[in-house]
């Protein structure tokens, strides 16, 4: 085994576990810095341990300060909370992190030329999956793809594009191979064959899809696909700095891989740059979509 006589496997393991005294830690770090072989092994071990370690469960802090209040004080605190929430819902929404927004209305109101929309629709981010891979999709990836397909369907429908029926079938195809997805798939197949579709039918079908494939994932996939359209249309309302932050955070939370984290940070950085780099935004969005929908 390749070893540095001064720093062996156990020294590296002790470093990783934080068991070395400060001066010994410095010595081992210096050895890793000097030796590419040690550094490679150290990095591989770290990555392997990271992949093998389940994500830490965040402890929800218990707020015990209420226990020290008198009953009258507790009543006052409760009343104040109710008043705050009742009189300023907008302020409240501003304060609470929103997560990935529901894009249904936003996509329908995008102003985008037919040419720009078609250039996005004709460039799939993933390989062809029909009959070729739906069954091997991980649940997370499926949710993302369902969301993206729904966004494409909604854009086509808002443009009066007859190909929206094919879009609905694509959603159905992704859902029917998911456990418990038959009802949701049928709802989308019904949309593909209906001549006059009520908004409520689309909402219901979307809700069923979210229930099968995961609300957060479907919404994230839909937002990212919507962002492709918005970027093609240079729409600054759809892709705001604040939403980009929420989306990046959601992407990292859903997929712990280093490449996804990197892609999410790149995306956030590009969106916040001024003047806007729409080509860069498109690339960054597509990279995130590709990573999240490919697992």
């Amino acid at each position: 085994m390749t070893t540095n006589p001064d720093v062996d496997a156990e020294r590296l393991a002790a470093l990783i576990e934080g068991r070395l005294p400060p001066d010994e830690r410095e010595r081992v770090l210096a050895a890793i810095d000097k030796s590419s072989g040690l550094r490679d092994a150290y990095a591989d071990a770290l990555a392997a341990l990271g992949a093998m370690t389940p994500p830490a469960v965040r402890e929800v802090p218990r707020w015990n300060f209420l226990a020290s209040l008198t009953p009258l004080q507790k009543l006052e605190v409760a009343a104040a909370a109710v008043v705050l929430i009742a009189i300023s819902p907008t302020v409240f929404r501003q304060l609470v992190p929103r997560g990935v927004p529901d894009t249904h209305d936003a996509i329908a109101s995008l102003i985008i030329s037919d040419g720009a929309a078609n250039s996005v629709l004709n460039q799939p981010v993933w390989g062809v999956t029909r009959g070729d891979g739906e069954n091997t999709l991980a649940p997370g990836a499926r949710g993302i793809r369902v969301g993206a397909a729904i966004a494409s369907y909604e854009l086509r429908r808002s443009m009066g594009d007859s190909l929206s029926a094919a879009g609905a079938l694509e959603v159905a195809s992704l859902l029917e191979s998911a456990p418990g997805g038959a009802i949701a798939a049928n709802a989308w197949r019904a949309l593909s064959s209906a001549s006059d579709i009520a908004g409520s039918s689309v909402s219901e079908a979307r809700r069923l899809a979210e229930r099968v494939a995961g609300t957060e994932r479907v919404r994230l996939g839909a937002w990212l696909q919507g962002a492709r359209f918005a970027s093609a249309a240079s729409d600054t309302v759809f892709i705001s700095d604040r939403t980009a932050r929420s989306v990046a955070k959601a992407a990292i939370a859903m997929d712990e891989r280093a490449e996804t984290e990197f892609a999410a940070h790149q995306f956030e950085k590009i969106v916040s740059a001024r003047p806007r780099d729409w080509a860069g935004t498109t690339t960054a969005v597509e990279e995130l979509l590709r990573l999240l929908g490919a697992r």
Partner: protein, 258 residues
């Protein structure tokens, strides 16, 4: 740790750790699933050989699972060095994901044509991308010279010779010179950082580790590490600008210098 039966019991008890660690390290090195099985057998044999020498060396300064993970990482490195020299997947490939890492390994290390590599990846269920999409993915990864001389048949050499013109050779030389210049400047800038900062930059951009993994490995708080990385990048950016280089994308430049 003493006694062959104790060592054997420890080995058997920690087989799942060895298997998982080998699988994870193999993925980082772009191994295909079939090759991982062969690698795993080799790793286990090396741990067992010489009366479980690897386990006999364990002093109890860390947990056995972390120790074995590091042992596996070192063994896999030895295995790869024996077979392919110092070749490792690029940081860029690692950032682009598993498919990219495996694709780069198949095409650039093993020398397979793209179509064959694509077929292998699709058959193994690792991707559904077309050859065109895979070629676009491959184009995003840096081209590196092989570290060992590779055998090329005379027919290929003749084909390459007809493609090469004096002009394209000159352009390639100029690009290589710039790349070498950038590499030296980046190295000088990085060497001015503290040891820990240098390691953070290398682990992030050369090895493609996540901030979470680096924080875990160096026992640092994760959140401040993001700010620290941004600061380090800003320092490197400033050093490069002072040297007269205006990098469009510093992370890509660091990757090129790996």
């Amino acid at each position: 740790m003493s006694g062959r039966s104790d060592l054997e019991a420890t080995f058997l008890q920690n087989l799942p750790v060895i298997d998982r660690a080998t699988a994870q390290v193999a993925r980082r090195h772009g191994f295909m699933p079939d090759d991982t099985a062969e690698l795993t057998s080799w790793v286990k044999l090396r741990i067992i050989e010489d009366d479980y020498a690897a386990l006999r060396k364990f002093r109890g300064e860390s947990s056995i699972s972390t120790y074995l993970t590091v042992v596996v990482a070192m063994l896999v490195r030895d295995y790869c060095a024996q077979k392919w020299g110092r070749w490792r997947p690029s940081a860029c490939a690692r950032r682009l994901g598993e498919v990219a890492t495996r694709l780069e390994t198949l095409v650039r290390r093993n020398g397979l044509p793209l179509q064959q590599a694509g077929e292998l990846l699709r058959t193994a269920g690792l991707t559904t991308s077309s050859d065109l999409q895979l070629s676009e993915l491959l184009a995003r990864m840096p081209t590196r010279r092989p570290l060992r001389p590779v055998e090329v048949d005379s027919e290929k050499l003749m084909y390459v010779a007809t493609l090469n013109s004096a002009d394209s050779a000159l352009v390639r030389t100029e690009i290589d010179e710039h790349r070498e210049q950038y590499r030296q400047i980046v190295e000088e800038a990085i060497n001015k950082l503290s040891i820990e900062d240098r390691l953070i930059v290398r682990l992030r951009f050369w090895e493609g580790l996540s901030v979470a993994d680096i924080a875990r490995g160096l026992k640092l708080e994760q959140k401040p590490l993001y700010r620290r990385l941004d600061r380090l990048l800003a320092e490197l950016h400033s050093a490069l600008t002072k040297a007269g280089i205006r990098p469009g994308n510093l992370e890509e430049l660091l990757d090129e210098s790996a």
